[in-house]
Each structure stands twice: as C-alpha cells, then as structure tokens.
Chain length 195, copies 2
C-alpha cells in the first residue's frame, strides 16, 4: 500500500482509540473494497458532528443546542444533581427510568498516571454551576474504579466544604466495574440505596 | 446520547469491521472530546480515498492512477505473476525485496460459508489478464488457511487447464496463518522454495 491517499486513510483511521496499523489497514481495505457508501456516510457524520456538537451550557454533555434535552426539560427536579463521568454513563442512568434530577457530566475522571488532573475534568465548571444553581443534594455517580473513587472523593470534599449534601451510589454496583457496562436494575438499586 | 448528530456518528462508525455499538460510542466520545482535528482529518481522508482510489487496470490492487507503482515499473519481470489475496499481502511480499515479477491481487478469497464464491474474487479478470499478457509462471501466494488453499486450488486448476506453469509458495509459511502477519524472512524462504 504505497499510494498516498491510501496511506493517508490508514494513518487517519489510527486516531480511533484501540486501532493500530494492522486494524487500520483492514478497515481501509474493507471500506474501499466493500463499503464505499458507508465510508462516505462516515465522512459526512464526522463532519456534521465536529461542526454541530458542542457542550451543554448547564451540564456540559454533548448537544447540538445550547441546552441538552435533559437540561431543557422543565419537569426535571433541579434540587438533585447527579455527577457522572461520561455521556454514556448518563445515558445508562437515564435508561433505568428511576432518576428525575439533573446531571453534570465531567467528560472524564481523575487519572494522575495519564496526566489527567483536577483541571482536565470539569471540576471548575461544576463548582461554578453549583454557585449559580444551588442543589439540595449532589449524587456522585462516578465509576467504582480506583480512578472513579478518587474523582468522587476530590469532588465530594470540595462540595462538602461548601456545605452541600453529598451522596454516593450504593455499593450495589460491582466494584471494579465501569458504570456503562452495569445492568440497569443494579444501577436502579444502587441509586435507591445511595449513601 | 439522544442527540441526532451523535447518534449518526455512532451509527456510521459501526460500519468499520470489528466495531460494535460500545466501541463506536467510545470512539465518538474520544473524537468529540479529545480529537476534533483528527476527526476532520479522517473525514477528509475518507472522502479523498473514496473519490480517488480505484483498481489498477493490470493487477487490480488499489491505486490513484490507471496503473499502480509496481505495474508501471518497466524493471519488473513480466514473465512471473504472483497471485495474492489483498494489497496487504502484496505489500508483505514487496517488503521481502526478493520478488521482481508482477502481481495480481484477488481482493478476497473463496469463502463459501460467507457467500464469497469464484465470481466474487477476481478470478474472471485474472483469466482475462493471463490471456492478454501470458506469463511463463504463475505463483499462487494465497494464505495457508483452508480458504486460501481452496482459492489456490481453484485458480491453479483453471490455469493448468490453460497449460500455464503454476507454483505455490513453499510450506515454510506456518500453516493456519495469514500471510500479512508472517515475518519477512519466512516469506522470503517460502518464495525461494516454491513448489
Ligand atoms: Zn445539559
Ligand atoms: Zn497494478
């Protein structure tokens, strides 16, 4: 594969997490040989997403609008704020149907070994939001991994120092697991038993 | 993730081989949160590849031109034709530096269970090419898997019926393995010992 366009495509596919040079070559081959229409659809989707998707002004998740659907919904209980790591985690909580409050999406978690510090996850914007829109209770729903626990600890301490009631999802969630892979009833129970 | 553009992106990423819904979500999140520039580069690369990459008129591999670099090189020995499954396999043979003939790239291999028959790999175009440009010897360098062997068998019989000398890479290549993952010196030996 010495052709410039082909090399560019293989190189560009390697930006995807978990995709090495061999996988990228297989992907390029598959697209060019079997699914050129799909490749064009992917190009258009990437372009559209990059241009139109920004962060919700209230909860920081991805949205095409100023506010995401949840934040724009007047039925949600603004007294409770649930803090999650990613949009996928938020989505898992939503699918339980047992949470009616609002969210704040950190878009990451503390990971000192990977150089992800307090400033790289949305702790600053979270504290600003709490100032602007005080909540009676904040539920820490970060993952039950070492990094998720550290994130919950740092945020929990900062909130308690501001006199805010902080709870954590109950340990019904299996330790060491990532929220988005946990079955919905376990998440629902953990939500009810929050400590 | 209920946003239309985000759903489109996740859906579009699933066209990539080996990418399920969870991986696609992670990829979308990674691109939007950490690498929007890379996402734009990927969109451009997909677009460029789909529009500019076609099949070499002589060997059927991917190229931006009428002929690929190897087929356009007057130094290559047109008396020997090596048949491979994919551009990646061709590339592995080229990297051994021990083959100076031409290639024909099938762009697949027989796989009756997956519905890939003789007509889906380039056997017709291969036979037309042999009529047009007779070669003194054809080397079958398909994989040493059951499917690769079946492919070699079908093509070998068709060529022998036309009175063409057919050889196969020597069994120096470990059985059950795919050519592109084999180390270069093994391929070079197998090429020298072709039977
Ligand atoms: Zn929001
Ligand atoms: Zn060619």
């Amino acid at each position: 594969m010495s052709e410039a366009r082909l090399l560019s495509l293989v190189e560009a596919l390697r930006i995807l997490p978990g995709v090495g040079v061999k996988s990228a070559q297989r992907m390029a081959f598959h697209l060019l040989q079997h699914d050129r229409e799909g490749a064009m659809r992917l190009a258009t989707a990437l372009d559209g997403a990059v241009h139109d998707i920004r962060h919700c002004e209230r909860c920081h998740t991805f949205t095409e609008h100023t506010l995401c659907d949840v934040c724009a919904d007047p039925e949600r209980d603004a007294n409770v704020l649930c803090i999650v790591e990613t949009p996928a985690d938020q989505s898992a909580l939503e699918r339980t149907g047992s949470y009616k409050g609002l969210y704040f999406v950190l878009m990451g978690r503390l990971s000192p070994l990977d150089g992800v510090g307090v400033r790289d996850i949305g702790v600053g914007p979270l504290l600003e939001r709490i100032e602007r829109e005080p909540a009676a209770e904040v539920i820490l729903a970060t993952s039950f991994t070492a990094e998720g626990e550290a994130t919950a600890h740092v945020i929990g301490e900062a909130l308690k120092a501001r006199g805010i009631t902080v709870s954590r999802l109950a340990r019904g969630v299996p330790a060491g697991s990532e929220l988005e892979y946990v079955d919905l009833s376990t998440i629902a129970h953990a939500l009810a038993d929050r400590r």
